[in-house]
Symmetry: D3
Subunit: 66 residues, 6 copies
C-alpha cells in the first residue's frame, strides 16, 4: 500500500532513480512488511530556480557562491 | 473546495485530460455536492523512469518485457 | 498506475468516501484504461481552520456568515 | 521545518519565483518563528491543459473565451 | 489558481493558521497577481514522530536534547 | 535537499516510523549523496476507509474478507 513521493533537484541519472526506487521499496518491505508489488515510488525532479531554502532559490544561492 | 491531484504516466492526450478533469469533478459534485467552480483538479504526468512499483521503474519493467 | 489524492473538508461519511473512491477509479478506467487494482485513491480530510480561500480559513468565513 | 508546496500555472518568471520563495518564507518566519534555513519552498508549475476548475481545463476555458 | 500546501509541526494556534493563510495568499496576490478568492491554502499539521530530518524524527531529536 | 513524503496505512509504531525515516534518509545519502541534515522525511498515516484500491476502500475490502 505505501505511496512514496521523492522530490529531488534535477540532475540525477536514470540509474540513480532506479536505485532510489529500489532502496526505498526495500526499506518499506523490511520495516513494515509492505509488498513491493503494491508499493508506489514516484520521483519528482525540481529545477533549482523552483526549490527555495533560506528564502532564496537554490539557483540564486549557487550563482552567488561562484 | 475539493483539491484533487491526479498522478498518471505520461502519454495521455489533452482530450483524455479534459475527460479526467470533467469526470472527477462530476464525481465530487454528485457524491459530496461540491461546486464545480470551486473544485480544483491538477493532472501531474510522470515519466516511466520516475515511477516505481515492485522496486523497479516502469521503464525498466517494460524494457525487460520486450 | 494512477495515484489520486483527494483533499476535502472533514464531515463526509465513510459511505461517501467509498463512493468517491469508486467513482474516481471508474473515471480513470474509462478514460485512460487504468486497471482498478493498480489505481490508488487516497482521501485526505482537512479541518475548516486548516483550509484557506480568499485569504481566510473556511472556519472564520463560516463563523462570520452566521 | 516547514515544507511549502506552491502549485501555479506555467508562465511566471524566475524573478517572480524568487519573490514567492522569499515572501512565503518570511510569512512562516514572522507567524510561527520558522528558521528560514530549514524552510523548504517548492514551486510546481502546471500547464493549462493540466489544471481543471469547473470541470474543464484552464486551456479549454481560455480558448472558448477568445 | 494557486494551490499552496503548508506542512508544519503540530502545535500552532488557529490564529497562527489564519495568519499563515492570509500572509501566503497576499504573497501570491502581490507577486503573481493571483485572485485571493481562487487561491487555496491547505495547512497540514504533522506530529513530531512523523517528521524526520538527519535520519531521525523530531521527537527523538528533542527527547535526546533534554 | 530531498523531501520525501511517505503515505502508509495507520497502525505502524513510532519505532517503525523512526526506522523508515532512517532507512529512507540513508538511501538518499548513499545513492545521490544527499546530506541527512537537509533531507526531510514526512510520514503521513492514512485510515483504511480513506485509502482505496480496485475501486474500494481497504476497510471494505478487509471487512468482506472476514
Amino acid at each position: 500500500m505505501p505511496y512514496i513521493s521523492v522530490q529531488i533537484l534535477t540532475g540525477v541519472s536514470n540509474e540513480q532513480k532506479e536505485q532510489v526506487i529500489n532502496g526505498v521499496t526495500k526499506v518499506m518491505e523490511e520495516v513494515i512488511g509492505s509488498k513491493p508489488e503494491s508499493t508506489f515510488v514516484v520521483v519528482q525532479e525540481v529545477n533549482r530556480e523552483n526549490w527555495g531554502v533560506g528564502g532564496r532559490s537554490i539557483q540564486s544561492i549557487q550563482q552567488n557562491s561562484k
